[in-house]
């Protein structure tokens, strides 16, 4: 089950060894890491971009009605960092979601302010990142084939 379906300098895609649905793809970075943060930011972005393309493939090629993208980051989730893209269909019997339960607002606020200060580095980074970005491509809404999916959304 572990044939490589696609490979380039940064990632490889395999069929998952323990698929939970038909159409369960796994994206591994070429550099084996146990923590996502060891990878360059642009490789992480590329992994997600590739996940998006895998989801498109599952929609189009496998007639999936939905997809889940899950990134496993750290020893509590998996030995190696990887991204799973899972094709979903009506009545596949898989429930990955959780019942939302309201958190203690004081605790959420406290966590938010701590995260905010931890992300100051992120804002500094932003300046650099912005300079490299090209202009947003103008795209007509109707051109996007995914808009037929809109009616399926809750």
């Amino acid at each position: 089950m572990s044939d490589i379906l696609y490979e380039d300098a940064f990632i490889k895609i395999k069929g998952d060894d323990d698929p939970i649905t038909l159409g369960h793809l796994t994206i591994y970075p070429t550099q084996d890491v146990t923590q996502l943060e060891e990878l360059p930011a642009d490789v992480i972005a590329y992994m997600y971009e590739v996940a998006n393309k895998c989801a498109t493939f599952l929609f189009e090629g496998l007639k999936a009605q939905g997809t889940n993208i899950i990134l496993y980051n750290g020893p509590n989730t998996h030995k190696k960092v990887h991204l799973a893209v899972i094709a979903r269909t009506e009545g596949d019997g898989i429930d990955l979601h959780w019942q939302p339960t309201q958190g203690d607002p004081a605790k959420v606020n406290d966590m938010a302010s701590k995260l905010k200060s931890a992300l100051i580095i992120g804002e500094q980074k932003k300046v650099e990142l912005k300079a490299q970005e090209p202009q947003t491509q103008k795209q007509s809404v109707s051109d996007n084939m995914y808009y037929h999916e809109l009616r399926r959304l809750p």
Binding site: L22, E49, K53, G61, R88, W98, I121, K126, R151
Partner: protein
Amino acid sequence: MSEEQSPEQILAQQKEQCPFCKIISGEIPATKVYEDDKVVVICDINPLSPGHMLVLPREHYPLLPMIPEDVRHSMFEKVKYFSKAQKDVVVTESNSHFVASGGVAGQQAMHFLLHIIPAENETARFYKPPIKLESTQYNQLKESATKYLPQLIAQITHKPKKTEPEIGTEQKNQQKTQLNENQTEQTQMNTSEPDSERKKKLAQFIESNETIQQILKDKPDEFAKLIAEREDLKELFAGIDVYALSHKLKENEQSLSQIKDETKNDVEQQKHTVTPEQKKHVGSLLEENDELRNALIKNPDEFIQKIKGTKNEELFVGIDIHTLSQRLAEAYKDE
């Protein structure tokens, strides 16, 4: 939603009702932890575990493929920092990132959401029992995946820039060696082949001598002359393109400074950042103290030993003594 509506109308209607658009605009109060022109990050008010974050595009896009690629790229390029911040604050080694596209996949919001959930225990692992695939099913999947995935992935315009792995500062010496080895490999082609033994020696030589590194990096012309003059260097650098090596070293320094930037929040790092005040202090000290200055110019290595344990040691923390020695030698060469 009626079937007669155009996609634009459906989207406009969705956007109007979208609670996340209201959060982003500030209409609904929320705990924003980061925002820029493309991305907003908030804390989930219904966290699966404390520290649960939601990464949202600022604009209303219901599904991932509807987001323009440059917005997606900008969002996912920052995921590293969001994820790192969460691990630091929650004090955990693990988290899971989760996206649901479509009602059947459990998508509950009309706005694209990337969940980043601390995984301290079973709660955020997302493991489900595997199914058994028939070999025909698998072969079909394999056949169409190998056909279509390369076509789809070829459409991606934002490709990663470098293939060298990015690693922590504590491993930078290792990286240097690795890069030096690459350099010699690259330069093999035009001249005689350096054997691996010599390559190793060369890498060690460059790595251990900061002055050599500096000259090689800044003045490859002078270095080439130096090689021609000295027999031992001639032997070591035979078949090596000094200019290519110099270029590589510069690049290497840039990537190192990038790593440094990224770890600025590291307390360890902050301790060694040279402040303008510190530079001023060092400058006036060396100007006033002839003995100290001359010792520094004469032999930087001895100087380091000399200041060890004295109150001056603290003043020179983070300063490149060898470069300083060179600069002083140039400035005071007339005396």
